[in-house]
């Protein structure tokens, strides 16, 4: 029995024993009062014993905790010496800039050499103007300023602005993302690069080549993104399966350019669905495959199809629906999963674009309106090999297929080009750290048709590029 309980029992016993000593001449009333007093005493002590038992239980609980922290206390004491030597207090978890968001700045620039005018567009495809090739000679690229951090226990925020060398700031991404939904669900909202395909969400500074693939450039406007909301779900599987859906305003008509007039339907102008599946094969290999689909409405106001403008010098408008369907595959290898000395990466993506709607030819002049259908596709395949620390080399092939374009009545006014653009790219880059990269690239560009001969206009392009990242450590995206 614990000592406190023993003492309490002794007190009760003493009280009971001492009572008869005082009751020397007991009367009936006295006896009754003694009984009552005894009863009271008994009750008092019982409650006190109960209270003591409760305290005892609490003390036992505390001692159990003490037992657990004993090991901790012991080692802590042993470590006092080390801790003392360490002048700074221990920061709790990694948080750059204390409570400020993590800030990073990307600097990049290019020296370009072209055989032909770099501003002319890929023949037969309505190019975006989102990513144009760097100008001839030395030029500053877009500087990127990014900030990100946790808002609170429930949300994360991220902001990325692009500062154009000629002035002006554009918001590339600015979104929130949920942290606390759980069960594999995440919601992202605001402006963000779409999760469709593989390369689309990769920012230019993290590209493996100085320029985007042709298919990404002409169908997705380099990095397709919208203002809207994204839902992602990861089912509880032993392999990676990501399912995603996006709904947006339809800020840009992918691959064509900005939609200046809002489409109808209160701005639900675009939908994206994507699924990615990925895993490791042993320690050295990993892969990811994906399928994506984008659907967009131009609204009845229509959008200019730039390429046809280039050909005719008149203003044309397309209104209708665009479907972009894509398949992507990525494979990576590093000996025993350690990419430091050698590693290899292969990526390929195929996209098909279908346009279905109405086409108005020469809106300011004859304004001939009739149906319009187009089905075009393109793909690239690229391989990048790091053959020694810091040094990588890469090869890429790009191909676009003019496909079929049905102009109906407007066929009398316009002949769509039947030209399949292609391009070969070779690059070598040197990255003495994760934060810097210098790259030399050669493109054999056959993306434009020589209008006179109908053959490809071969352009030998050379780029020398630098990319520097300052500030917060970037993410090692797969």
């Amino acid at each position: 029995m614990p000592p406190k309980r023993l003492m309490a029992a002794a007190l009760v016993a003493a009280a009971v024993v001492s009572c008869p000593v005082h009751a020397q001449t007991p009367s009936g009333d006295d006896l009754e009062s003694i009984r009552r007093q005894l009863q009271e005493l008994k009750q008092t002590y019982e409650t006190r014993i109960q209270a003591l038992e409760a305290r005892l239980k609490a003390a036992e609980e505390a001692s159990r905790h003490a037992e657990r922290s004993a090991a901790q206390a012991q080692t802590r004491a042993e470590n006092a010496e080390v801790a003392a030597a360490q002048a700074q207090p221990q920061p709790v978890q990694a948080q750059p800039n204390k409570l400020n968001p993590a800030i990073s700045l990307i600097l990049n620039g290019t020296w370009g050499r072209y055989g032909h005018d770099p501003s002319s567009r890929v023949t037969g495809f309505a190019a975006s103007g989102g990513e144009v090739s760097p100008p001839r000679g030395a030029s500053l690229g877009e500087s990127e300023l990014a900030m990100s951090g946790n808002v609170d226990p429930f949300f994360r925020g991220s902001f990325r602005a692009s500062l154009a060398p000629e002035g002006g700031i554009s918001v590339e991404e600015a979104f929130f993302e949920t942290l606390a939904l759980g069960n594999g669900f995440t919601i992202k909202g605001g402006r963000f690069f779409s999760g469709l395909g593989y390369q689309n969400a990769v920012h230019p500074h993290a590209w493996d080549f100085a320029d985007a693939s042709l298919v990404q450039r002409v169908f997705l406007g380099t990095n397709y993104g919208d203002d809207g909301i994204q839902l992602r779900y990861l089912p509880p599987l032993p392999v990676y399966l990501q399912l995603g859906a996006e709904i947006g305003r339809g800020r840009t008509f992918a691959g064509v350019g900005d939609v200046t007039r809002n489409p109808e339907g209160n701005g639900r102008g675009s939908e994206v669905f994507f699924a990615h599946l990925g895993d490791d094969i042993g320690d050295s290999h990993s892969y990811q495959v994906g399928v994506s689909h984008l659907r967009q409405e131009s609204g009845t106001q229509g959008v200019s199809l730039f390429d046809y403008d280039d050909l005719t010098g008149v203003t044309n408008l397309f209104s209708g629906t665009q479907h972009i369907t894509g398949v992507d595959f990525v494979y990576k290898w590093a000996p025993e999963g350690n990419p430091v000395y050698r590693n290899f990466k292969f990526a390929t993506e195929w996209f098909q674009r279908r346009l279905d709607g109405r086409f108005a030819f020469d809106t300011r002049g004859i304004n001939s309106v009739d149906g319009f259908q187009a089905r075009q596709s393109g793909w690239y395949a690229q391989a990048v090999y790091q053959f020694m620390p810091y040094w990588r080399t890469g090869l890429r092939f790009d191909r676009l297929s003019a496909g079929s374009v049905a102009l109906h009545a407007n066929a009398a006014n316009l002949t769509p080009p039947a030209f399949d653009p292609r391009r070969w790219s070779v690059m070598v880059d040197w990255s003495p750290s994760e934060f810097s990269r210098v790259r030399l690239q050669y493109n054999r560009d056959e993306t434009r048709e020589n209008a006179a001969t109908g053959a490809a206009l071969t352009d030998n392009q050379i780029f020398l590029q630098y990319v520097y990242s300052l500030g917060a450590h970037g993410a090692h995206k797969f």
Binding site: R68, S69, A71, T75, R76, E78, N79, V82, A85, Q86, A87, Q88, Q90, P91, Q93, A94, P153, R156, E177, L179, A180, L181, G182, N183, G184, F185, T186, R232, Y233, L234, P235, P236, L237, P238, V239, Y240, Q242, H276, G278, D279, D280, S286, Q288, K332, E336, G337, N338, P339, V340, Y341, Y390, P432, S433, E434, F435, L470, H473, H476, K477, F478
Partner: protein
């Protein structure tokens, strides 16, 4: 598209049964934390280890497999001190798992709970791959490992209160064995006291600190920067005034530069396990220390 949800439900139901768990699912960023969790949790936990002793943990990518494993984890145990800064934040934000977010009991950065050495006074990227919170390779500090065990037990009890008693008992047992082993290692490693060594990267600083060894230099001119010939030549010159008795590299480093330097300065070049699993002897945490100390003692004898 409309048939998808139904198909999914069926697939989910089929898979959910076998996946339904009775144990705590732990995602360990490095093998040492996997081994420590096994010590404290025994069969109560199923442990997935994200990296191996053959990989430079600084350079891992947020691979799909890692995101998939983090998605269902009850507890993520990482080193912290920015060792995994390139990939773990992305793995967490992509996982859709609220239990492993920053500030939750299910996310543990061990380095935040142990004293760290080599805390830089000046932090600048010009000095290489900096860890502002000090050397993150804490697995080689016996005291650090003991404190880590206490924190791991606490977190396990938080995410799995039913196992509290088990964890406490196992922690007490581990603490006793670890204390004995620590005393044994101090005796075993006594001949290494004061011995000068060159290491590839600061992987073993905590072990040198524990055994009273002296690091005379690193093969890397700056943390995370590969050895250069000019820097190796400096180390050769320095050997005359501040001699090293061996050149040590970890299981994930290239042998070439270490071998080259060792032959030039006439000392043995040895490989130590970067963590559990780095050598056949480093089967668990105890083996990691035993094997590492033995390898250094052998090199000392070999060097004469």
């Amino acid at each position: 598209m409309k048939k998808m949800p139904k198909l999914f439900l069926v697939a989910l139901l089929a898979l959910w049964g076998p996946l339904a768990h009775a144990t705590v699912r732990v995602f360990a960023c490095e093998p040492e934390w996997g081994a420590l969790v096994k010590e404290i949790a025994g069969d109560r936990a199923t442990v997935y280890v994200a990296t191996t002793a053959m990989q430079d943990v600084h350079r891992i990518q947020a691979r799909p497999s890692l995101i998939a494993r983090a998605r269902s984890a009850d507890l993520v145990v990482c080193t912290g001190a920015e060792l995994e800064i390139g990939w773990i934040p992305m793995v967490r934000s992509q996982s859709g798992n609220e239990r492993i977010q920053l500030g939750k009991p299910g996310y543990l950065e061990v380095a935040s709970f142990v004293p760290r050495i080599e805390v830089p006074t000046v932090v600048d990227r010009a000095l290489g791959d900096m860890h502002p919170q000090g050397n993150p390779h804490i697995q080689f500090g016996p005291r650090q490992m003991q404190l880590a065990a206490v924190e791991v037990e606490k977190r396990l009890a938080q995410v799995d209160p039913a196992g509290e008693q088990d964890y406490r008992t196992r922690l007490a047992d581990f603490t006793r064995r670890w204390k004995d082993a620590t005393a044994r290692w101090a005796t075993l490693g006594a001949p290494l006291k004061g011995v000068g060594v060159i290491q590839y990267h600061k992987n073993f600083s905590y072990l040198f600190d524990f055994l009273g060894m002296r690091e005379t230099g690193t093969l890397e001119p700056k943390p995370g920067v590969e050895p250069t010939s000019s820097h190796l030549n400096e180390l050769i010159t320095q050997q005359k005034t501040d001699p090293a008795r061996m050149v040590i590299r970890s299981s994930y480093h290239a042998e070439g530069p270490a071998q080259w330097l060792a032959s030039r300065i006439g000392v043995p070049s040895i490989m130590l396990p970067a963590t559990v699993g780095g050598t056949p002897g480093a089967k668990d945490l105890f083996g990691l220390y035993d094997d590492s100390i033995r390898r250094m003692l052998d090199a000392l004898k070999q060097g004469g």
